[in-house]
């Protein structure tokens, strides 16, 4: 209980402290400090949940089980490494004149608050609060995306706000319908939006209402996941915001939105007893994978290319959960973890590369390996990992996913293989010249923080080689809950 208090309290306090102290050189370290505190608290909380099982906190307002506690740890961990990465990165941006003191203050404060909203959304048991947290996460990231105040970043942030505002309004309508369904079963006095409460009575929820509710919820939160055709905010927001923000958007926010959809899917499956939710998710997922792979092949901006790759991977994850069943759900959870780690590592290296080149255009970034072999190898390995090469974790999850798809949804397998092939070829063609060959880059004043890159990649590798027993148990438990 006290651990959850810390997990939510530290980033909230961090947001306030960093807003009040203004920008001084120390703020960078304070930002890392608060993120470290959050991560340690999340570890303690996770250990408690592992040893005691699922628990309620604060009169059932918060609920911790296998599904969300692993995402909490992942969120806090990537939040910490991104804070470490952002220390030298934002310093260089300040030297380049892209940031000034008031903007740094906004950046640090919003970074912590963004972490808070994600952790709130993950831990709360109240589906209404999940919505509130998702909307608050949109608001904080809108400020983070627009922090450079260039016309492109303002445009990206405005689009992001309007599109996600509309999208997430649909999710609120879905939530209202859920509440209505609960109201029918439990009566107005005892109606609840608590997920555990709804889960207990899910078999009695009215199928007509729940069908409509799930469609609205999927479209709403799907906008935040970046599912095609609701994805158009995502590449802009990733490309125009600061790179640490792209890393946490791709690595974390998309996962949190996915988590919200998963909770709703469990209720829907229980209420309907058919495959409606799964089929919708498979449809959206497959469309996202295919469309994103083709868009990916046409990109010139490196951050846009990797943001399309995020859409592709979120599509794969949506498809996996849509197939349902313990194996596919296991693959989906593993893919979420590995994608988060590897994609944020890639954004770290891309951030350094674009700073060295002074541009995000891929054809003008050349020969990374000559200027800084660690960054070059980091990017190369990261790309191999994200493309699902063995022995990285994404290979394991994609292998599980594809074999399950071939067995259970054979119609979809050719599309998946084609999309993965297109993504593989087009990404490799772009990245190889960026890493090898003659160089166009110049060294930077502040040495980059490369530890996070390799920590992420090593973890991504470990997930492919050997999954520790407790982690495996966790995944199995969560997959069992999701897959029924």
């Amino acid at each position: 209980m006290s651990a959850l208090f810390l997990v939510l309290g530290i980033p909230l306090l961090g947001g306030l402290v960093l807003a009040l102290m203004g920008h001084r050189p120390l703020a960078r370290d304070v930002n890392v400090g608060f993120s470290l505190g959050t991560f340690l608290a999340a570890c303690v909380m996770t250990a408690q949940v592992i040893s005691h099982g699922p628990e309620f906190v604060w009169d059932k307002l918060f609920y911790l089980d296998a599904l969300n506690v692993f995402l909490v740890t992942l969120t806090a961990f990537v939040g910490l490494t991104t804070a470490i990465f952002s220390r030298p990165y934002m310093r260089v941006e300040q030297d380049h004149g892209k940031m000034n003191a008031p903007r740094m203050r906004l950046y640090h404060s919003m970074y912590q608050l963004f972490g808070f909203t994600m952790l709130l959304g993950l831990t709360t048991n109240n589906l209404g609060l999940v919505w509130v947290a998702m909307e608050a996460a949109t608001l904080t990231t809108v400020l983070l995306v627009s922090v450079y105040r260039t016309s492109a970043s303002l445009e990206a942030a405005w689009k992001y706000f309007i599109l996600c505002g509309v999208g997430i309004a649909q999710a609120l309508f879905g939530t209202i319908l859920l509440y209505m369904a609960a109201d029918k079963v439990m009566g107005p006095e005892h109606a609840t939006l608590l997920w555990t409460g709804l889960n207990d009575i899910k078999a009695q929820l009215d199928p007509t209402i729940i069908t409509l509710a799930f469609v609205f919820l999927l479209v709403g939160y799907g906008t935040k996941i970046g599912l095609v055709p609701l994805h158009s905010w995502l590449p802009d927001a990733h490309a125009e915001g600061p790179t640490p923000v792209s890393a946490v958007l791709s690595g974390l926010l998309l996962n949190v939105a996915m988590y919200a959809v998963l909770r709703c899917k469990v209720l829907t499956d229980g209420a309907l007893g058919n495959q409606m939710a799964g089929q919708l998710m498979m449809g959206f997922g497959l469309l996202s994978v295919v469309v994103a792979a083709f868009f990916l092949s046409r990109q010139k901006d490196v951050k846009r290319m990797f943001s399309y790759s995020s859409i592709e991977h979120m599509g794969l994850i949506t498809f996996a959960f849509g197939m349902g069943g313990p194996v596919a759900s296991f693959a989906g959870l593993l893919h979420m973890t590995a994608h988060s780690l590897v994609k944020s590592a890639i954004f770290f290296t891309v951030g350094h590369a674009t700073q060295k080149a002074g541009t995000q255009v891929m054809s003008e970034i050349r020969g990374l390996i000559k200027v800084n072999p660690t960054v070059g190898w980091g990017l190369m390995l990261g790309v191999m990992a994200i493309l699902g090469m063995p022995p990285f974790g994404l290979f394991a999850s994609e292998f599980l996913l594809l074999t399950t798809a071939m067995r259970e949804q054979p119609w979809a397998a050719p599309f998946l293989f084609m999309a993965l092939g297109v993504a593989f070829a087009s990404m490799l063609i772009r990245v190889l010249p960026m890493v090898f060959g003659d160089t166009t880059l110049k060294p930077l004043a502040h040495p980059p923080a490369l530890v996070p890159v390799f920590v992420h990649l090593v973890l991504g590798l470990l997930l492919g080689l050997y999954i520790p027993d407790y982690l495996n148990g966790w995944y199995v438990q969560a997959a069992h809950m999701l897959g029924g």
Partner: protein, 219 residues
Amino acid sequence: MIKFAPQLINLFATLILLLSFAMISQRRIVSLINLFMIQGAALVAASFLLGYVTHQPDLYVSGALTLVLKVMLIPWMLYRMIAKLNVRWDVESLFNVPTTMLVGIGLVIFSFSLALPISRLSDSLAGGSLGIALACVFLSFMMMITRSKAVPQVIGFLSMENGLIFAATTVTNGMPMIVEFGIALDVLVGVLILGVFMFQIREKFDSLDIHNLEALKED
């Protein structure tokens, strides 16, 4: 009073829908804010009435929240904003109004057919207003798409929130309090941020026309 309650609620529901249509066709920004304010007032009246009839104090709180936020604070902020931005008397050239209206009517029919199977199940006093609430959401959605200026887009966003709150009030007698407050906080912060954005967009592009924001496109 109680006898007429369902009719009164339906009256307010119709008023809210009518105001949504009025917003779609309104070109002057300052009148748009007035319409938004009246819509908020109708929403408040519906909440109070439902609260009185069903004896749910929660609905009074929810109504009061809407009153403070949507009828007083946000319109005041919007008036100040357009005065500062000097767009008070701006007139926007609209995409063919009759066509928009026809599409709007189509949306209303669509929402009603979507909500019909659910409205039949509802035993709430105003279960029939689900269709209207959904129609308001879609109409505001359409307004956000067809408008090219920043302020009307924001008003569309807020009016969509009105439709959602109306759905929550009439269909389920209000959301849990903590959620209501969370939503209100999000809306307020959202308007503040959008307000700041408008000044920045104006500074960068010398105009609040969203058509300027078209540099980021797939080629």
